[in-house]
């Protein structure tokens, strides 16, 4: 790695958002130049109140809500821009909008080329 590479930090932004806001988040991520992402269906619990499910007329408590987890890794684009983009795309103002985390990434490898470091991102 060169000195220049060491200044270019790799960051992972992990966000849990409402499934129906995924389209807006993808759009706003593309607008800040970070269109690559990985999406997983997840269930989780946070500030959103539990809801009632129903099966043959009988109610039961559902306290794990369906969310999507978005993972995106950036090197040259400021992590803050990505965070802002996700926040903007996922916002409704109601409890259950989700959370965003920023994590330092030690290294990256592109499987196809074997390239390492920020250029692999």
């Amino acid at each position: 790695m060169t000195d220049e590479d060491e200044e270019r930090e790799i960051k992972m932004i992990v966000a849990m958002v409402r499934p129906d806001k995924l389209g807006d988040v993808k759009q706003s991520l593309a607008e800040v130049g970070a269109p690559s992402l990985t999406v997983t269906n997840v269930s989780g619990r946070g500030s959103q109140p539990a809801k009632k499910g129903q099966w043959r007329g009988e109610e039961y408590v559902v306290d794990l809500h369906q969310k999507v987890k978005i993972e995106t890794v950036v090197a040259d684009i400021p992590a803050n821009d990505v965070v802002e983009a996700i926040k903007e795309g996922a916002h409704t103002g109601e409890p259950g909008d989700g959370k965003i985390f920023v994590i330092d990434v030690e290294d990256a490898v592109q499987v196809r080329t074997g390239e390492r470091g920020p250029d692999a991102v």
Partner: protein
């Protein structure tokens, strides 16, 4: 066509062929109800037990129909008052119009039970029970009724046109009894006796199965009416359109009112129109009319359908909360109590000319007592025989899978398959603390 050719056509043979073809068409429709039962039950169980439920449905038909061929049909004729008439010795034409036609009804009764015992019954116990149901339990019921006409009171013979009690009532009561003996699924009840909801895995499959069943039901009910009436010698006496038309109308109206009845009661009680209750109610409406579609007035079909649907949420709750029986697919409220209700309704909703055609001069009271006697006799026999069989399995430890297998799901523990496999392929690698996959060990539940 020349006059000579027209003269050469035997009208009786043509009419018999029409009846024969009609019976085969409806037989195939009724057979298709197995697709409905498979989807309905698969949708109402958890994803870990789907393949088990599907296998039970496949084997109900496969084992049951062979047993009904070799033993069951003969037992029915024996109980009916004749001798044990072995099917291979009867005329080949009757193999279609009599044996196969009877077999699809018998297998409908058999497959209802699998929905009640879902998620915990051992496959071998279920298949053994199916054997006994097809060989003895169901044939005794048809022998007493359709074959023999042994149940009557004051000149009124017990009326059950297409099997509202004989097939569905019997199946629903058998399911409830087997589920009672087996005990509830793990986690269904808390220690204080309160019930937990265990949702099924696919509303879509449950509704698809419901509508496939309803389609097949047209064969079940309308197909029980012949196109041409014949006399004792087999000669054609008249076109049977009036009865066929009545059955088609009453079946349709009761089906619709069943869905409306169950949906309305669910709505009134919880403020929501529960999808599964609407679907179950549609079937309960069909079950309700199945004993009487050839006799009921149009308004009788509306009333019986509505009541059959409306009783569903109450009876299900009674079974669940009071009897504490884990009837997974609600087979008792759908097939059992709805079948009893429709059977008992006969004297009250029968159109007067149909009433006298079916029970002659017998009074309404006599007819009601005959209907009640049929319900009690069929119910008592079904409960006694089913309880005996399942308690027998329980005593030798063969009724239920082990708690570990139940937890893991019957798909893997009984069949070694996953209905919805997520990852797979390649050599299996042992992770830290893991052990190699060993299917022979998994399958060995002794």
């Amino acid at each position: 066509m020349t006059y000579e050719l027209l003269q050469a056509v035997d009208v009786g043979a043509v009419a018999s062929s029409v009846n024969f073809t009609w019976i085969l068409v409806v037989t195939f429709l009724i057979f298709f109800m197995h697709a409905g039962f498979a989807m309905l039950e698969a949708g109402q169980v958890r994803s870990k037990n789907v393949a088990n439920q599907l296998t039970k449905n496949l084997l109900t038909w496969s084992v049951g129909v062979v047993v009904f061929f070799l033993i069951g049909a003969g037992v029915s004729s024996l109980v009916g008052g004749g001798s044990f008439s072995w099917v291979p010795n009867s005329s080949p034409g009757s193999w279609a119009s009599s044996w196969l036609y009877g077999a699809v009804f018998a297998m409908t009764a058999a497959t209802i039970v699998s929905g009640a015992v879902a998620g915990r019954a051992k496959l071998r116990a279920y298949v053994a029970y199916t054997f006994l149901l097809a060989a003895v339990i169901y044939p005794v019921v048809t022998g007493l009724t359709w074959a023999g006409g042994h149940i009557s009171f004051g000149g009124a013979v017990f009326q059950d046109f297409a099997g509202g009690m004989i097939v569905h009532g019997m199946g629903g009561i058998a399911g409830l009894t087997a589920a009672k003996v087996l005990g509830p699924r793990m986690g269904r009840y808390n220690e204080d006796g309160s019930a937990n909801v265990i949702p099924g895995h696919s509303m879509t499959f449950a509704v698809l199965g419901t509508l496939i069943l309803a389609f097949g039901w047209y064969g079940f009910n309308v197909g029980t009416a012949a196109i041409f009436n014949t006399d004792a010698s087999g000669a054609i006496t008249s076109f049977n359109g009036a009865v066929v038309g009545r059955v088609a109308l009453t079946t349709t109206l009761a089906m619709a009112m069943g869905a409306i009845g169950a949906g309305s009661v669910a709505w009134a009680r919880t403020g929501k129109v529960d999808t599964l209750y609407v679907a179950n109610g549609l079937l309960a409406g069909l079950v309700g009319i199945t004993a009487i579609p050839n006799a009921s007035t149009w308004w009788g079909a509306l009333a019986v359908g509505l009541l059959a649907g409306a009783q569903l949420p109450f009876v299900f709750e009674f079974v669940e909360k009071t009897l504490k029986i884990d009837d997974v697919c609600a087979v008792f409220p759908v097939h059992g109590s709805a079948g009893v209700l429709g059977t008992l309704a006969f004297p009250f909703v029968a159109e007067s000319s149909r009433y006298s055609a079916l029970v002659g001069d017998a009074s309404m009271v006599s007819s009601f007592i005959a209907q009640l006697a049929g319900v009690v006799i069929i119910g008592a026999w079904t409960i006694a025989a089913t309880a005996l069989v399942w308690y027998g399995f329980k005593m030798v430890g063969q009724a239920r899978v082990t708690p570990e297998h139940e937890q893991e799901g019957l798909d893997v523990s009984e069949h070694g398959v996953e209905t919805y496999p997520e990852f797979g392929g390649g050599e299996s690698v042992v992770a830290d603390g893991g052990s190699p996959a060993n299917f022979s060990e998994v399958n060995n539940d002794d």
